[in-house]
Amino acid sequence: MTNKIIETRNLSYHFGVSKVLDQVSLRVEAGSIYGFIGPNGAGKTTCIKILLNLLQTDNNQVFLFGKEFKNNRTNILSRIGSLIEQPALYHHLTGRENLKNRAQLLEIPTSRINDILTLVDLSEHADKKAGKYSLGMKQRLGIGLALLPDPELLILDEPTNGLDPNGIIEIRNLLRKLVYEMGKTVFISSHMLSEVEKMVSHLGIINQGKLVFQGSLEELHQISKKQIVIKASRPIDAKELLSKMGYIAELVDETIFLPFQTNEQVAKINQLLLSNNHSVYSLSQSQENLENLYLTITQ
């Protein structure tokens, strides 16, 4: 039996007359890194704010750790660490003071502060005012604040915003460590698939308020089309030949693309081209790029 950490049931939400979320049913399993992706304005942040009870919804639509949110708000929030949009920090306090303030609010031992500072690589800048931090440092402090209570579930809204490539890799490694070594669950949103593709185990793709795909990364790969990529001596003639034989071939920049099902099909296509005096320079298999697939889904 799978243990669902986050579950929404046909969640819809309106801002005035515009529908921001339309029947969204999220399923996030324990121990996964769930990437919640979609273009800007697709409804990601709204959905995350509902998951944290910052936006009010009807009862029995949002369940976390198997419990209905509204009736178990404090208990549920005590098991979550979150970072929404730009990190909310007291800019007149130092990084350490921000963490101390949060630790006191949550009645957590302040001894954890140094560990968190080391974890997010801010030990050297701990006593600098948060207002003087760079965007990347603010983002890391925000993640540190989210990690402070040692939560079971981490909800991060575009945490890599403003981070340089090294910073993104560090965050990626940190999240992997949290999930695979420390048994946490991470729900991370992004508007770029390429940013989360390398770390997530599951994906939810949202577009215009609708969840258009949800499943594991393998499942997403399965729906992406397999293609043969052919470079031949006379590509226009070759394409016409293949079309005449019933294949759905496409010619782009003197390269022929056509979908296939089995390896035998690939061999047959090769034989067909050779027997009709076409010189085949290269013939390879490829899968549609996930980023292209994502763009196709969200268009």
Partner: protein, 222 residues
């Protein structure tokens, strides 16, 4: 020695200047600033979303801020009373002929400030709610100042129903104190802690506190 130049007379003359400024203008203005500051720290750094996503009941956050404000206001009024006493003591050293030390004015002064604290809780609760709802300074300050001017005019015109305007309460308190004291003598009964403006103020504060709680409970952080 005439009464006007008695030690009590000097105390009354000296304190009335400070108390007048405080009750007409300073106290409401300080409250407006205190309420703005305590909520602005969350508005400015976009902290509401962070605070409300913590496992702390919203009423705790709301109540903590409200009671901290009460504490701040109590501190302000206590410090003002202490300042009047200390400055009068220093004046007594420089000008011994005023004989401030021959009359103990402290108890009356503190009781008067206690009353000011109680009657100003309504202003505080209203301003707290306004600053909670609006993140900018202009709206709460504009409304607060307008009502303060209206309250001071109503109190000074001795309008029968002036007590229903919370912002008139400090001025009514001062006017009552002035009419109950004379240079001949004064005692603690000059400050009435059972007056209708106190009860009205506490009722307004209680109601506004409850309204504010429902505002914050159902508030969406967009």
């Amino acid at each position: 020695m005439d009464d006007y130049n008695s030690p009590l007379g000097h105390w009354l003359k000296y304190s009335s200047v400070i108390l007048g400024v405080n009750c007409i203008f300073l106290l409401p203005l300080v409250i407006i600033f205190q309420c703005f500051s305590i909520n602005n720290i969350e508005h400015r750094d976009d902290m509401w979303k962070s605070l409300f996503s913590l496992p702390i009941p919203r009423w705790s956050t709301y109540s903590a801020k409200f009671f901290y404000l009460l504490l701040l206001n109590g501190l302000y009024l206590s410090l003002l009373a202490i300042f009047i006493i200390i400055s009068a003591t220093i004046l007594d050293l420089l000008k011994p002929e005023y004989k401030f030390n021959e009359f103990n004015f402290s108890a009356i002064l503190f009781k008067l400030h206690l009353k000011l604290f109680l009657v100003s809780t309504s202003i505080l609760s209203i301003q707290f709610l306004l600053s909670l709802v609006w993140s900018d300074f202009l709206k709460p300050m504009g409304i607060g100042l307008l009502l303060t001017v209206f309250g001071v005019i109503a109190a000074n015109l001795s309008w029968e129903y002036a007590f229903i305007i919370p912002y008139s309460h400090p001025m009514i308190t001062l006017n009552d104190f002035s009419s109950n004291t004379s240079y001949l003598g004064v005692n603690l009964s000059a400050v009435d802690l059972m007056s209708k403006e106190i009860w009205f103020s506490l009722a307004v504060a209680g109601s506004t506190y409850i309204i504010g709680y429902f505002v914050i409970r159902n508030r969406s952080v967009k």
